[in-house]
């Protein structure tokens, strides 16, 4: 059963007098539990496609289905609920809420979902431990390094057990070691929890972890291939 299906997605942007094509009749099907990397140069449409699948942006035309529900037709409220219960986001720029501690950032989505205090606190502690942030639960984002912040963002994305994690250049601001740790974590979640991953990147080391590699250019999919993932030797 397919988890995500995009049909003939088109999206253009106006930049001054110029019209830029973000997505040009994109068709894509991502099954549950897949580990997909979107690659391509800047402006190829990777982030636009991620935003459309995540319900953050609306396509000009085409359809997006998630588990049989057409999400591009949803109103703002139901769309927010869909994101809340199904999708975990990992952004390039960490994007933590600065007034909340690491633990509170991880608990945030669960709290909005309505998970009871004790349960979400325990889950948040467990996940922070899993991403190697024991003892840093009470630190605010400004007191954490870039790598630590990104791990908190990953913890937040997976804490609510989403069906799908959308990650946009998740390793762009991380050093090699931190990047490997993060990708190992993603692989583990994909393998053990059947979480679907769609990662936009132009980092070849990240692409190596993917089971499926989709290349984009000028808003079009130019290749879509399965590959044997290369797991980190560490």
């Amino acid at each position: 059963m397919s988890s995500i299906r995009c049909i003939q997605l088109c999206k253009t942007f106006r930049q001054g007098d110029e019209i830029i094509t973000g997505l040009d009749h994109v068709d894509i099907v991502v099954d549950k539990g897949e580990f997909v990397c979107l690659s391509g140069p800047s402006g190829s449409g990777k982030t636009t496609l991620l935003n459309a699948i995540g319900g953050l942006d609306t396509p000009d035309s085409g359809e997006i289905h998630m588990d049989g529900i057409r999400i591009d037709m949803l109103a703002k409220g139901p769309l927010a609920d869909m994101r809340l219960h199904n999708i975990g986001f990992v952004f390039q720029a960490y994007n933590l809420i600065p007034v909340l501690t690491a633990q509170e950032n991880v608990e945030f989505v669960m709290q909005v979902q309505g998970v009871a205090a004790a349960e979400r606190a325990q889950k948040a502690r467990d996940i922070l431990k899993e991403v190697g942030l024991v003892g840093m639960e009470d630190r605010k984002p400004a007191q954490l390094s870039g790598g630590q912040q990104q791990r908190v963002a990953v913890a937040r994305a997976i804490a609510s057990q989403p069906k799908l994690v959308l990650a946009d250049e998740p390793t762009a601001n991380l050093d090699t070691v931190a990047s490997s740790q993060l990708m190992n974590l993603f692989s583990e979640l994909n393998q053990h929890h059947r979480v679907t991953f769609i990662i936009a990147t132009h980092d070849k080391r990240v692409m190596a972890y993917a089971k499926r590699l989709i290349k984009m250019e000028d808003g079009k999919i130019i290749s879509d291939e399965m590959q044997a993932p290369i797991l980190d030797e560490n």
Binding site: G54, R83, V99
Partner: protein, 416 residues
Amino acid sequence: MKGIGIFNLRFQVILVLSWRNLWRNHRRTIIMLAAISVGVWAMIFMTALMRGMVDDMLKQGIQNLPGHIQIHHPDFRDDPSIVNSIDEPSGNLLDALNDPATKAWSTRIKVPAVIASERETRGINLLGIEPGKETLLSGIGDQIIEGRFLRDSNDNGLIIGAKLAERLETRVGKRVVVISQDPDNNIAERGFKVVGIYKAKMPRLEEFNVYAALESLQDLLKIKPQISQISIVGEDFRDIALLYHRLKLATPENLEIKTWYELDAYLKYMLNMMDGFVLVWVIIIFLALSFGLVNTLAMAVFERVHEIGLIQALGMRPGMIVYQILLESLLLLLMGLSIGNLLAFITVKPLESGMDISIVAEGMAMMGASSMLYPSLTAADMILANMVVIILGILTSILPAWRAAQLDPVRALHST
């Protein structure tokens, strides 16, 4: 139940976000807090001063004749002559008047008359009073500035106002002649010795109200034991509904019973005008405050566009974002109100024993108020100021909150 539980959890998270966001920019929040506090203080303090002044004017107005409630002949208000007299109270009415809920009451004769000295003649309101009881009602006994007050209901003396004494060119100890009519339209006249001169807080009353003992006047007008009116005072002139109802039940049907605001429309309008003025005053101050409040919230939203985009991306509904911004505004308002109310309480309470404003006494006297101002901090005025600030504060916060909720998540996430 589950829905309520989820709402509570969401409320907790937006409460934490609102509170912490408020203190991200300490300086701006403290400045806004100071503005709200001073504004609320000014609202309540000025209202207390105005309320005190108007209360004083009303009390003077009510004391200087009608009382809080008055019982008289049904035609007395149209024709306040001696023919429209009534019997002294008895039976159920007397029992009701003597009930402890009635603070004070007294009977009076009130007829138009002419007073003549050796040099001048003037038209007056001639009032026959029970001296002991009347002092409790109108305080006339305490306003004597020369001579003495009437001793009892048989006293043959006359009390006149300082202004009238000046017009008549008379003084304590001199004789004057009072001329009126008896019920048969015969001239009733008698010489009285001026035994006292009073100074009223409302100078115009000094020229017209002349006081004699009740029984002396009954003898002069040949109406014993009839009277013109029964004047009654309760504990608070604003809260006389119960007393009025009780007395109305005991009042014979052939008599008319009226409250002070029915008897003196001017005083009623003054009270209504004061209430309206307080509301206008509170709203004007709030409008000045609202610019700062909207600006603070608009800046807070503008600075957090990226974050708002983030919480939208994470699944916060637009409605919850509106609530979060409104909650931020409400927290700011509640803190400002608490400080403002406390400041008002601390500054008004010590002044409630009276502020000497004799420097503007003449102007105050013209308005019917005394030279001492007693600021009045009422719960109703405080509630009004607080409600106006909260309701209008929330209303003015809706626009920045709504704008925050309408942000496009992708654009918001890309803003710096």
